[in-house]
Amino acid sequence: MAKATEVAPGDAVHDGNPVVVDRYTTGARINHWITAASLVLLAISGLALFHPSLYWLTGLFGGGPNTRAIHPWIGVILFFSFLGLFIRFWKLNLWEHTDNVWLKKIKDVVTSKEENLPEVGKYNAGQKMVFWSMSVLIIVLIVSGIGVWEQYFGGYFTVEQRRVAVLVHAIAAVMAICVWIVHVYAAIWVRGTISAMTRGRVTGGWAWRHHRKWLRELVSGK
């Protein structure tokens, strides 16, 4: 048997009708939802201070000063929470040759012609791109965010550095929100995906259709 390269701890196949495949452990799911909740709260509170027409969103956090005070702390939570996801997922997100093939056939991807695509491991190239762009953006956001955190770090940076920080923070945040939209949309569009992060499992058919290489390795290692 070839060494499984696409399998994470906790992944398993269960016979039945339909076949059920464990995709995410309870720990990974809790980790994911803490990250998700903090990212949504960050986006809302950040957008409130980004564009005046969205300032009313500060009401959800108890007003402008509270929004200003709480946003960076949620950022700290997100950073460490995402770090947990990164440690869990980075290995299976390493880029491979088949990812390039998959990307070249992006037309077949968006038109759901999966029979034309190479067999995919635990993550496809799109998921890997979401993973790596979020990883980079969150580092950029936490670093630039410290430069904008007037209350505790205002005195450590020159005004010019703070200007750069706030601009970089805004641009990176817009990009992160766009990546997040792609992530959420893909989960909705590809039916049967969301149960992976809610109940931790998907059907065998889902794994066969979208992550066949992963399924094959799971079965052969059973």
Binding site: L49, Q151, L167, V174, W208, R209, L215
Partner: protein
């Protein structure tokens, strides 16, 4: 001597300007006051300043502020920088003039310049936390301030300071409360040499002209008025003996303007950012309408079953 502003009457009078006289309000779309009031200005004649700090004291006194007792490090600046309580600060430079060989003591009263194009107001995300009145005064409205410090990034003169006590930003108000009842700012009132005078912007420019002529007649050929066009002029102006080198005066900006980074952030990024997010979401919606959901088929389930049971 510039004619002094008469003392106020004892009976209360109506404020001369208020919310109806706004021409700019942070993070808000407002209709500017139809008619602008006469623009006011404070003129600081650096050549007449003796560095007594009466203006600093008067500012603390009138605005009911208390500065912490600091540490003497052998320089005249006290405190060492502007603070949330010290809205004005005398800055001292010892300058050895290479042309004359003289040691010149350049003393500049630092504080908010009340820019006609205020960077603080442009950067502020909180509606109504920074306002500009039609007479030119730029004021912070503390009940609307959220303490984010964006005004610091917007300011080309590095003036606002955020308090560690209440997390609100503070700076010189040009004594808007005094000006509203026909008085000049407290610093101007206290200045013993009329290095600080206050009046309409036109009056101040005329007075500055007289002062500059006088300075030129005394050998200061580069004497001039500091009313920087990069921020569309200011409502606090300086008469400088070396107007060709404002930077000599403790780093007074030579050509102040709102930083291009701030302009880009508050201009392009703000609109392009929202557009990008809406576009990505719209693209997703469109894709779903056109391409439909990607569903697992019964065939897929059967294949998986066959594979699993092998």
């Amino acid at each position: 001597m510039f004619p002094p502003i008469p003392n106020p009457q004892a009976k209360p009078i109506e404020a001369k300007f208020g919310d109806k006289d706004l021409i700019k309000r942070s993070a808000s779309n407002i209709t500017p006051a139809a008619q602008r009031q006469t623009q006011v200005a404070k003129l600081i004649d650096v050549s007449k300043c003796i560095g007594c700090k009466a203006c600093q004291v008067a500012c603390l006194e009138w605005n009911n502020l208390t500065e912490e007792v600091g540490i003497n490090t052998g320089v005249y600046e006290n405190p060492h920088d502007l603070t949330p309580n010290s809205w004005t600060l005398m800055r001292y430079t010892e300058y050895e003039n290479p042309e004359s060989g003289n040691l010149e003591w350049l003393i500049r009263k630092d504080g908010c310049m009340h820019c006609e194009d205020p960077g603080c107001l442009k950067a502020c995300p909180a509606p109504g936390a920074i306002v500009q009145y039609s007479n030119g005064i730029v004021d912070f409205v503390h009940e609307n301030c959220i303490g984010c410090g964006y005004c610091i990034k917007g300011c080309p003169f590095n003036i606002p300071r955020v308090s560690k006590v209440d997390n609100k930003a503070y700076k010189c108000t040009l004594c808007s409360d005094r000006v509203a009842v026909g008085q000049g700012p407290a610093c101007q009132k206290a200045c013993p040499t009329q290095a600080i005078v206050f009046g309409t912007k036109d009056e101040m420019k005329q007075w500055a002209d007289k002062r500059i002529k006088d300075l030129k007649s005394r050998g200061y050929n580069n004497a001039g008025l500091y009313d920087p066009p990069g921020v569309q002029g200011t409502h606090v102006m300086y008469v400088l003996h070396h107007a060709d080198k404002p930077n000599l005066y403790s780093g007074l900006a030579d050509n102040p303007r709102i930083s291009p980074i701030v302009e880009f952030w508050k201009g392009f990024t703000k609109y392009a950012g929202l557009t990008a997010m809406v576009a990505v979401a719209g693209f997703g919606l469109l894709h779903h309408v056109v391409a439909g959901a990607n569903r697992v088929t019964e065939h897929d389930e059967q294949e998986a079953k066959r594979l699993a049971e092998k």
